[in-house]
């Protein structure tokens, strides 16, 4: 197809993804709002008032970036993994596979859908946070780039998961046993400087630590890691996972026999 045809195909995939997010809003947009409200009430207000300050900030302010990132990560990943696996399971992925839509258009369309949901949920959580505290954005560009890169990284990761998945259990294992522990241990609720040196070292192998801290730097101006390192790592992750996703799609892993 020519460039105009590819553009139409890309818009079709993105529109279908966004339509799906809005159609099942009770599953996609409402749960993060409720969960994060509970986090802010319990950890921010009730427990946070007794914790005092973290890295020189009120505790509720400190956890806002981490909670936004947690939502973005979970929703970017969750959107693409359930949507793409669903299309495999119901076999309507074949609609695209038998058409002249190039693989890069399919991948880009699904990733943009996942990023859209990540950003929508991120915005919802930010609005919820504003009900509990007031924040002054420190570095808008870093905030935006971190948000987008994180969302893209986990969209690719979710896509890879969906490509390999053969049953619904396969799309639940990674979020439950990998993503959730890494997120909770990625400095969402605490500064890694509070940990003993050994565990501080271990924490630096957790990629989510860099994402949460880069975002916290953008939003609040404080971070446990170097921003350049964090940005570089996110970019590398995005490129590697993106290339691998494309490789799987070209090979037709789990799609073509």
């Amino acid at each position: 197809m020519n460039a105009a045809g590819n553009w139409v195909a890309l818009k079709t995939i993105v529109r279908r993804e966004v339509h799906r997010i809005l159609r099942i809003w009770g599953q996609t947009l409402v749960p993060p709002a409720i969960t994060m409200t509970l986090y802010f009430v319990i950890f921010g207000k009730m427990i946070g008032s007794r914790i005092g300050q973290m890295d020189g900030l009120p505790y509720i302010d400190f956890i806002v970036p981490g909670l936004i990132m947690m939502s973005v990560i979970q929703n970017s990943y969750g959107n693409i993994v359930s949507s793409f696996f669903g299309s495999k399971f119901q076999r309507f992925v074949e609609e695209m596979l038998v058409a002249p839509t190039p693989n890069w258009v399919i991948l880009t369309g699904y990733v943009l859908g996942a990023v859209t949901r990540g950003l929508m949920v991120g915005a919802i959580v930010l609005i919820v946070a504003m009900c509990f505290t007031s924040l002054k954005l420190q570095h808008p560009l870093i905030t935006l780039v971190t948000l987008l890169l994180t969302s893209v990284v986990f969209a690719f990761a979710g896509f890879i998961n969906a490509m390999y998945a053969k049953k619904f259990d396969d799309i639940a294992i990674v979020p439950t046993f990998v993503l959730t522990p890494l997120t909770y241990l990625g400095g969402v609720f605490y500064s890694v400087s509070l940990l003993p040196p050994f565990w501080q070292g271990v924490s630096h192998f957790n990629p989510i630590l860099y994402m949460v801290n880069a975002f916290r730097y953008g939003l609040l101006g404080v971070s446990d890691v170097g921003i350049g390192t964090a940005m570089g790592l996110m970019l590398v992750f995005a490129l590697v996972l993106g290339a691998f996703s494309m490789h799987l799609l070209q090979r037709g892993t789990g799609l073509r026999s």
Binding site: V8, A9, K11, T12, Q90, R91, F92, E94, E95, R256
Partner: protein
């Protein structure tokens, strides 16, 4: 000579589990043809169709669609093909209108034009009143028609129908065939697989029979049917017949007291048959040709192929 609509050359496919589904299939479908691809279950038909629409990756061989090599010019080749698969493969939670418009989008057709075409084809397939209902709620026949509308929204030059009427009642089957015949008359090449052999006999001009991954027959329908050396007629009797009189000179089979069946060598005048029946006191009210001709040939060819393999 014009380019073939579909040219398959020495196509082989061995799956990862070792099953050799295609063992060197070669066939050619001319532009504008209505082509039947028949074979028993597991013969390799779906693997062949899957290879043509890239859902199956062949182990070797080549496929050309209107001259475009599928391996090297994938997008140009696929742009010419529309597929109606055997299994339902649309999003059951989407509305038929959206399914059709999205499918057009995957072929690069702008949304405004896609909407016009979606309405046109949903109307032609009598689905317009269901266009905005959730497709999960459609009946089996409607779902089949929806897949036809989806397959033709980009107005393909080659339409492949993989058992599109499986489980569909006769009225809907007839209306579907009428629609597909009209498309074919308008110039679209049609490749059909079906287990309803009388449909293939009525609709198709050329035929290939596949068995165990090989083509066992590839000829025109007329040539194939001319191989039959006899015809079978069903006779509805004016009065019940309890026993067939010995005096009747032809071999009759009694299906029930009001119906007989008779095999007549091809080319034989029927006057003698009626004379013999009259002489035996059998009064015939009506006569019809038993439409199992292709079925008989099909079974012979498959049995011969299986006998050769054994």
């Amino acid at each position: 000579m014009s380019t073939a609509a579909l040219e398959v050359a020495d196509l082989r496919k061995t799956y990862d589990n070792g099953v050799e589904a295609l063992k060197g299939i070669s066939l050619s479908v001319a532009q504008g043809d209505f082509f039947a691809l028949l074979g028993p279950n597991g013969a390799g038909k779906s693997t062949l169709i899957g290879s043509i629409c890239t859902l199956v990756t062949p182990s070797s061989g080549s496929i050309r669609i209107f001259g475009h090599d599928l391996a090297r010019e994938r997008e140009a080749a696929l742009g010419c093909v529309g597929v109606v698969p055997q299994e339902l493969n649309f999003n059951q939670f989407e509305r038929p209108f959206d399914i059709i418009v999205n499918q057009a989008g995957f072929y690069g057709i702008a949304r405004a034009e896609a909407k016009v075409r979606a309405e046109k084809y949903l109307r032609q397939l009598s689905l317009w009143d269901k266009a905005f209902t959730i497709s999960r709620t459609l009946s089996g026949g409607m779902k089949r028609r929806l897949m036809i509308a989806r397959a033709i929204v980009h107005e393909p030059r080659l339409l492949i129908l993989d058992e599109p009427t499986a489980g569909v009642d006769i009225e809907i089957r007839r209306s579907m065939w009428q629609f597909v015949s009209e498309i074919n008359r308008a110039g679209t090449t049609v490749v059909l697989t079906t287990h309803y052999l009388e449909e293939a006999e009525q609709l198709c001009r050329n035929i290939a029979i596949v068995d165990k991954g090989l083509i066992v027959e590839n000829t025109s329908m007329r040539t194939l049917l001319s191989q039959l050396d006899r015809e079978t007629f069903v006779l509805d009797l004016a009065a019940p017949c309890q026993q067939i009189p010995d005096s009747v000179g032809v071999h009759l089979r009694r299906l029930d007291e009001n119906t007989l069946e008779v095999d007549v060598p091809k080319g034989t005048a029927l006057n003698q048959l009626f004379a013999d029946l009259s002489a035996g006191g059998i009064q015939v009210r009506s006569l019809r040709n038993k439409s199992n001709r292709l079925e008989e040939l099909f079974l012979n060819l498959v049995e011969r192929s299986q006998g050769a393999a054994a």
